[in-house]
């Protein structure tokens, strides 16, 4: 089975042991794109990004060029914030990009800052990623010393600082407005929408572009090769190469750079150059297509291409490129419980339904797994879920500020809809147990 391939846009230096150094970066074409961009008008740089039709890689898949266009004209200062908080379970790619090719990211940041006219850029790295912080600190120190960041970049007269900063353990800070709160030194609680995009009011209520690490890491290639070249990769509805982390029950879990749209989930799970098949030759029972916030997919979705509109229409999302494969030995109640526990612990606590509801869901599932389930528990799970995300629909409707609360509903609805008997088996055992205790 031949899979579609494409150029290594993002991972070209991943195999090099010194790919993170400035010398290797320069020796492999680094900072050429920056020089090229600085010779262009800022608008022309944005035009290339628009032409690339790149969708953001952070989870929402919003077109990057369009987002940049939301900046209110004439309002300054503006900021660029790069989201390196990667914490969605199953997601593993931004850390690699930061550890193995930090200069590619830095070059992308300066290009972005130049295009949007930013006064300063902030690179917010997840707190737990010590090596990424070290590599980026070193890379930034070198890039500053060599004139690629800071005052008068490459003699162009353009100046911008990049401040490296980092979090301290809170998934919700990946949400862009929470990230901004955190960057202001506050508790990472999402802001109310509208405004829907920080582009109009972001850091310090100034116009701010928030982009994901992978999104920004694509920029040097886009500038070097042109937006059209990027758009010609993948399919028109999902352009470019993209990193997918395939984890769980495959023989070769890994992070793979593949052309979007031309690759299917089955390719990723089975092709020898990717997942290499389900472990032990077993069957896929379910898989999470785009991070644990997503609705689960099943066998019937295996041949679906990694194409945003297709996956959206099927009732889930590609999200953060995190694919978790569960084979037919998996206990679906426990799988759902683990994901719910995650959201319960990571709720920021701002919205009542999320704060109280996710904890409640976790505790009901705790009880079911502990053998203390009650007959009404499954209806209760669904009704509590419905009070967090009315209608249990996709895309989720929410009674909350951000999608975290409703995300906790995805595993429950997915697992309960498809594998209800597994839940009922737990309840039956509990009932039996209670009865025998009575006698």
């Amino acid at each position: 089975m031949a899979v579609s391939t494409g150029p290594k846009i993002l991972t070209s230096r991943f195999e090099l042991s010194d790919g993170h150094t400035i010398d290797r970066y320069l020796a492999t074409g680094g900072y050429r794109a920056l020089a090229k961009a600085l010779a262009m008008a800022p608008d022309a740089v944005t035009a290339q990004v628009k032409a690339s039709e790149m969708q953001g890689r952070g989870g929402a898949g919003f077109p990057t060029g369009t987002k940049w266009g939301f900046l209110p004209p004439g309002v300054f200062p503006r900021y660029v914030v790069v989201n390196g908080d990667e914490s969605e379970p199953g997601t593993y790619k931004d850390r690699l990009l930061m550890e193995r090719d930090p200069h590619q990211l830095i070059e992308g940041i300066v290009i972005c800052a130049y295009a949007v006219g930013a006064a300063q850029a902030f690179l917010y790295v997840r707190g737990e990623m010590a090596l990424a912080q070290e590599r980026l600190a070193q890379a930034l120190n070198d890039a500053y010393a060599k004139g690629y960041v800071g005052h008068d970049i490459m003699g162009s007269g353009f100046s911008v600082d990049i401040t490296l900063t980092w979090g301290a353990g809170a998934y919700i800070v990946g949400e862009e407005t929470a990230l901004i709160e955190s960057l202001e030194g506050n508790r990472g609680m999402p802001r109310l929408k509208p405004p829907y995009f920080p582009a109009s009011k972001g850091l310090y209520l100034q116009p701010t572009i928030v982009n994901n690490v992978e999104t920004v890491s694509n920029l040097p290639w886009i500038i070097n090769e042109g937006g059209d070249a990027f758009a010609s990769l993948g399919v028109p509805t999902s352009t470019g190469m993209r990193l997918f982390a395939v984890s769980g029950h495959v023989n070769r879990p890994g992070v793979y750079e593949v052309p979007q749209g031309l690759t299917t989930f089955r390719d990723l799970f089975e092709a020898p150059e990717y997942g290499g098949g389900i472990r032990g030759g077993r069957k896929v029972k379910a898989f999470i297509p785009g991070g644990v916030s997503a609705m689960w997919f099943f066998e019937e979705h295996l041949d679906m291409p990694l194409d945003k509109p297709t996956v959206d229409k099927a009732g889930s999302m590609l999200g953060s490129g995190a694919i978790v494969v569960m084979d037919d030995t998996t206990d679906m109640v426990k799988a759902a419980w683990r994901v719910v526990r995650f959201f319960a612990r990571e709720s920021c606590g701002k919205c009542t339904p999320c704060r109280e509801g996710t904890t409640w869901l976790e505790r009901i599932l705790d009880r079911i797994i502990a053998g203390d389930g009650r007959p009404d528990d499954l209806e209760l799970l669904l009704d509590v879920s419905d009070n967090i995300s009315p209608g249990l629909a996709w895309p989720p409707r929410q009674t909350t500020i951000c999608p975290l609360g409703p995300s906790a509903v995805s595993p429950i609805v997915s697992a309960l809809k498809r594998f209800r008997p597994e839940f009922e088996a737990y309840l039956a055992k509990a009932a039996q147990h209670r009865e025998s205790a009575h006698v």
């Binding site: 319960a344 606590g349 704060r355 996710t358 904890t359 505790r363 009880r367 419905d386 009674t399 500020i401």
Partner: protein
């Protein structure tokens, strides 16, 4: 004629006001207003917990979800965050709205202890009310609830029960955004989120009681009220706080004839629902065991309890004898600023119209000349808060007029009003000022003249650039000058001179005088000031109405309080009447006050307590206190509003006006006042400025009615005073009041009494270091003066304090154990030396 032609000829009709449809009913809305507020005005109350109309919405509780039809179909939105748009169609009753709201309520209850029967809030709890009307019948939550240690004291006044807390962010938002004291904060995350203080940093905000009032559950409770009553046992009446002259609107609540609680009322022009903790909790003083419940008469050196007729006879006799022996001018009346307008008027009539003395003053030598009210164009609080620039020539408003501080802070923080502070030391408002220029005590008018460009720019510390920037700002738009007595150790002449200079230079500026005692403005207007008759009319030009009501007016202009005390000390006052005044504590020249009390032929006190002054009286007449009497009061803007009796006076205590009427009778005169309404009728007839302040007007405008007056008069005359040169080894003293002091409201309220900071001399840390004295050490403070009579000394505790400028010494006035009062002698400025003991 065609319709088109009609349209063309008619003036363009104004566009119809925007409207929305709620549950099928059309209501008019204000552009940009929040849906939850518009709905409420239109008669639809959307349930809410976190929304509070005086704070920025946070949309946290999610209770106020409603359905709004949008371009992509109907959607649930939180109405506290949603601005209205013309044509919006809203449902608050759709099944999915009800389901969502019930869901939120259920979520709020899963961890709520439901200990309503033992909760202070039970019976007035929004959560309880919502649960009863909309809540789930039976709990589906079978797990163990969240547990926290039961109430923890987060300050001396407030306790927090975290199990009851629903994390609405009201208290924390209030603390940060309204009070500017972010000492309580959310901590932890998600289901573990709680409200906490930092270890050893209690929620010591002057405004902490507001958090108790706005808490939508019983998580925050006030120590002075905890477990005192159940809401359904409370009776209440709306009134006005008279603890200071801001005049916040309150409800006074009682049970079984005892005052139990004050709650702030949202008065748009004044307090927006907020109160300071002193005003909120000093009802304890009214209930105090040490209140005077009956008159006292001095017999054999002792004050003994007597009946009213005996006390009144004795007092009347003392006055009569004084008049007989020394003429009317041997009688003087000090005080009256703590009572009602009616009290003040009755006393003005007794003193000036019956006794015939003009030695009458409601201020205690710690205010400003009455000319700041009569000789300056006046401003309101709202006008100050909407000005382009506010100039502060005032004491620390956070300490003296706390809710005015909140209003100005809000103006600076949220309305971008620029505050220019000219002062000798940092104040509560300093962090919110646009510019702060420091001057040494006594150099206020020199600084103002330097700013205005008609003074020596070198005399003050500010740079020429700063002075120019401030000058330019004064021309940038409307200016309101807030003027008050900044320091009791300085002559008021500086403030008057500075103020009149500003008035002359800024033809459009208006002025907000901030005299601090509760009803000082009302008392002055009612005639308790020398040289003027009620309504600020000149003594020599009584109005026809006055002449009709009064049998006489004084022959000569009288003395102000300081001069009265001097006359008394010199033996020229045969009868000194203290109308709720305690000059021995409150007058800046305490030594003079003591001599005056000793030197006066006799002293009559009308008071609620035996004070440092009234304990020296020959007769003490027990006065009704706050909440025990009705009438009207006038706040610092001149806004007249009702004060209402809620409980009957303690013992046989009586209103000041009634005491005046009875004393008049003893003097053979009839004030014509049998009932309060008699006083009110005459007051409104005699004082033209109050003619429109009728009962009906006060009912239809409970927030109060502005007194009319010589609003445009520009007659205030400044007097240029040259402060003496500062001695390089001395510190120039500044003395001012703090919220918690040894005054009656604080000292006799047991919850507040311990909050007074205590007497101390504050020096800049560098100055303290130079002296080689550690903070907390006792030092000897000596007045520097050539005249040996002026050299006074006091022992005080030294405190290093970065808020004080170098070369300046600050001491809070009238603290428990106060000694700084012994240093003040009414000189232009006071310089002191500090010596180690």
């Amino acid at each position: 004629m065609s319709d088109a032609l009609v349209d063309a000829e008619a003036p363009a009709a104004p566009p119809p006001p925007p409207s929305i449809t709620i549950d099928g009913r059309r209501i008019e809305v204000k552009p940009g207003e929040l849906l939850i507020a518009a709905a409420e005005r239109g008669g639809t109350y959307i349930p809410r917990f976190c929304y509070h109309p005086r704070m920025e919405p946070v949309g946290m509780c999610r209770m106020c979800l409603v359905q709004v039809d949008g371009p992509r179909g109907p959607a649930l939105v939180v109405s506290c965050m949603q601005p209205v748009a013309d044509g919006m169609v809203v449902s608050t009753e759709a099944p999915n709205v009800k389901k969502a709201q019930e869901g939120v309520l259920e979520f709020l209850l899963v961890n709520h202890p439901l200990d309503c029967p033992v909760c202070d809030k039970g019976g007035e709890c929004p959560l309880q009310d919502q649960t009863i009307s909309n809540g789930p019948g039976e709990s589906r939550f079978v797990e163990e609830k969240r547990h926290y240690e039961k109430p923890i004291a987060i300050s001396e006044l407030v306790q927090l029960d975290r199990e009851r807390c629903i994390l609405c962010d009201r208290c924390t938002r209030f603390a940060k955004d309204v009070a500017g004291d972010p000492l309580i904060h959310f901590t932890n995350r998600g289901g573990n989120t709680q409200v906490e203080t930092f270890p050893n940093h209690p929620f010591a905000s002057y405004f902490s009681g507001n958090t108790v009032q706005i808490c939508p559950v019983g998580a925050l409770t006030a120590s002075p009220y905890r477990f005192k009553a159940r809401p359904w046992d409370l009776e209440e009446v709306e009134s006005t706080c008279t603890s200071c002259s801001v005049g916040c609107r309150v409800t006074v609540q009682s049970s079984r004839n005892q005052l139990l609680r004050y709650q702030g009322v949202d008065s748009d022009p004044v307090n927006w629902g907020w109160l300071c903790d002193k005003g909120r909790f000093d009802f304890e003083a009214v209930n105090s065991d040490s209140r005077l419940g009956s008159p006292r008469l001095r017999r054999g050196g002792e004050l003994v309890e007597v009946g009213w007729s005996e006390a009144l006879d004795a007092a009347g006799a003392l006055i009569a004898r004084a008049i007989e022996q020394g003429g009317p001018t041997s009688v003087a009346v000090i005080g009256g600023a703590r009572g009602t307008n009616e009290d003040a008027y009755a006393w003005a009539k007794l003193a000036k119209g019956v006794i015939g003395t003009d030695h009458v003053d409601a201020q205690l030598g710690d205010g400003l000349p009455v000319g700041v009210l009569t000789g300056l164009p006046q401003a309101t609080i709202d006008e100050a808060c909407q000005a382009t620039t506010v100039v502060l020539l005032a004491p620390d408003l956070k300490e003296e007029l706390p809710v005015l501080y909140l209003r100005l802070r809000d103006a600076a923080e949220h309305r971008r009003v620029r505050i220019v502070e000219l002062s000798s030391m940092a104040s509560g408002l300093t962090p919110y000022t646009w510019a702060t220029l420091r001057h040494r005590p006594g150099e206020q008018s020199a600084l103002v003249r330097a700013i205005l460009g008609n003074g020596d720019k070198n005399v003050v510390g500010a740079s020429g650039e700063q002075l120019d920037a401030v000058r330019a700002q004064l021309d940038a738009g409307p200016v309101v000058v807030v003027v008050g007595r900044t320091s009791l150790a300085e002559s008021p002449d500086f403030a008057v001179d500075a103020t009149s200079a500003l008035r002359d230079a800024l033809p459009n500026a208006t002025f907000l005088p901030v005299l601090r005692r509760g009803n000082v403005r009302g008392a002055l207007l009612a005639g308790l000031t020398p040289g003027l008759l009620p309504g600020f009319t000149a003594r020599v030009e009584p109005s026809a109405a006055l002449t009709a009501a009064w049998s006489t007016v004084p022959d000569d202009d009288g003395l102000d309080t300081t001069a009265i005390l001097e006359a008394a000390a010199a033996g020229r006052i045969r009868c000194l009447i203290l109308l709720g005044a305690d000059p021995a504590s409150d007058h800046p020249n305490r030594e003079l006050a003591r001599r005056a009390l000793a030197g006066a032929g006799s002293v009559i006190a009308i008071d609620t307590f035996l004070t440092a002054s009234s304990q020296h009286a020959d007769v003490v007449l027990a006065a009704a206190g706050y909440g025990e009497k009705s009438g009207t009061t006038t706040n610092l803007e001149g806004r007249v509003s009702a004060v209402s009796a809620k409980v009957s006076p303690i013992g046989t205590a009586r209103s000041d006006w009634a005491i005046a009427a009875d004393l008049a009778e003893r003097l053979g005169a009839d004030l014509g006042f049998d009932e309060l309404v008699d006083v009110q009728t005459e007051l409104r007839a005699v004082v033209a400025a109050l003619a429109h302040v009728t009962d009906e007007a006060l009912v239809s405008a409970p927030d109060g009615v502005l007194a009319g007056g010589p609003a445009t008069s520009r007659t205030l005359q400044g007097k240029h005073v040259e402060p003496p040169l500062a001695n390089a080894y001395a510190y120039r003293l500044t003395v001012s009041r703090t919220l918690y002091d040894a005054g009656l409201g604080v000292a006799r309220s047991h919850s507040l009494a311990g909050l007074a900071r205590g007497s101390a001399l504050h020096l800049h840390p560098t100055d303290a270091e130079r002296l080689g004295v550690a903070s907390g050490t006792e030092v000897k403070v000596v007045v520097v003066a050539d005249d040996p009579d002026r050299v006074r000394t006091a022992v005080m505790t030294l405190v290093a304090d970065a808020d004080v400028a170098r070369g300046v010494a600050w001491a809070p006035f009238n603290q428990p154990g106060d000694t700084v009062g012994d240093l003040l002698d009414g000189s232009v400025v006071v310089d002191v030396r500090v010596e180690t003991l």
